[in-house]
Amino acid sequence: MSGRGDSAVSLVDMIERKAPEYLDLLTTETEVEFEKAFDALLGRAVAQLERQKANFIGLGEVGLSGALAMALSIPGLTVTPEAHSNGHVDLIIEADHCVPERIRLGEAKIYDGPEYHLKGLEQLLRRYTTGREGRGLQIVYFRKQNIAGLVTKLRAKMDADLPCSQQGPTSDHQIKWSFLSKHAHSCGENLEVGHIGCNLYIESTGGAAT
């Protein structure tokens, strides 16, 4: 502690020590600023998950998303995973100390090919998102080798098929192995989705992927 005990100075010091980008996020005033600050935090949390991947070998989507949520959450910004019986995990991101409060919806899946990914995209866009939440999020945990190649293939398929009324080709994201897509939504606007790759591949001594 900083010696200032229970004061708001101590709280902000703690948050700043965890990551200064949180203060950027809490003080944002526009959607664009929020996305930029959130991307910086997300990139940091994904990188942390990758560094600690050896600890997550036995975890499924729920456990991985729980670890990601813990890495991201602070008072004022929380990420809550909602597990479903069909194997995927919804993510609710609430920035309740931002004015106005901001909510993001996402999905998290262990990568199992483009079709599985696109099924999740469809659920996110067609069933959960109302259009009010801003950019959607698909966290993709890659346990297979060659994340760079798999992301390239996924992007190529999306750019060729334009799923979920995709508007034009995908674009680069500031986070590595990640990209953005835009989709026409029933609300009448184009909604952006961030596809965030997280490399959890571990080469076992026997050569088989975990």
Partner: protein, 229 residues
């Protein structure tokens, strides 16, 4: 905008008297598999926490019954659990409701994050609340929790954030000024001042620290939970 018409809204007298019935929104999932998840997500994330937070429209809860032939048993179990909590609270005195909140928060964390370290941190947080005379969690309690559970203070801060999130709503963060302790400092005011220092640079670090140093932070049991005592 989407309209959602629940299958039923059941008014349950769960012991708060006829003027404060629990509004239980009942969804029969078996009939509408396609949109059931969307409804549940919306109800759990927005509608129920929102209306309970407002406080002016009574107490609301959401229940989803999965199979038609199980409805009667599920419904009885849901109503029974409400009564069980009430009876436990009456039988064991004032400590019982708080234990009930800690159990519910543990269930919440288990449901969303699985078994793990979070439950231990959450339990330590509730123990600290139980031991504090004002029945609140203080920022300075974080170090003790981290030491007890052998976690990083950051992790304890994360769990506090999760327990106080709009979805969970077990705790709420409270900011009070030393100058006007009877009035809570709003999030808007706090973030506004933080923004002046951190983002706009119209306030120096010294000025920020002078102001924020007089603001006390603690987490109190959320009003919704207080209402259920």
């Amino acid at each position: 905008m989407r309209r959602y018409l629940p299958d039923f809204i059941v008014l349950v007298d769960d012991g708060h008297g006829p003027d404060d019935l629990l509004h239980l929104v009942v969804e029969i999932k078996g009939y509408r598999r396609e949109d059931a998840k969307e409804k549940k997500l919306t109800m759990d994330s927005y509608s129920v926490p929102g209306v309970n937070h407002l406080g002016a429209y009574g107490r609301w809860a959401f229940a989803e019954f999965t199979e038609v032939y199980q409805i009667e048993a599920d419904f009885e179990a849901r109503v029974e659990s409400q009564f069980d909590e009430l009876i436990a609270a009456a039988a064991n005195g004032s400590l019982a409701p708080r234990q009930s909140i800690s159990d519910r928060s543990a269930n919440y964390l288990q449901k969303h994050f699985g078994d793990g370290h979070l439950l231990a941190i959450s339990n330590a947080i509730w123990r600290a609340i139980d031991s504090n005379p004002d029945r609140a969690f203080h920022l300075s309690d974080i170090e003790a929790v981290a030491t007890e559970v052998r976690c990083k203070p950051d992790d304890a801060l994360s769990v506090l954030g999760l327990l106080a999130s709009p979805s969970a709503c077990f705790l709420q963060m409270e900011l009070r000024s030393a100058e006007y302790p009877e009035e809570a400092v709003s999030s808007e005011e706090f973030i506004g001042k933080l923004r002046e220092w951190w983002k706009k640079k119209t306030v120096s670090r010294e000025e920020w620290e002078r102001w924020a140093g007089t603001i006390t932070v603690r987490w109190i049991i959320a009003k919704r939970e207080e209402g259920e005592r």
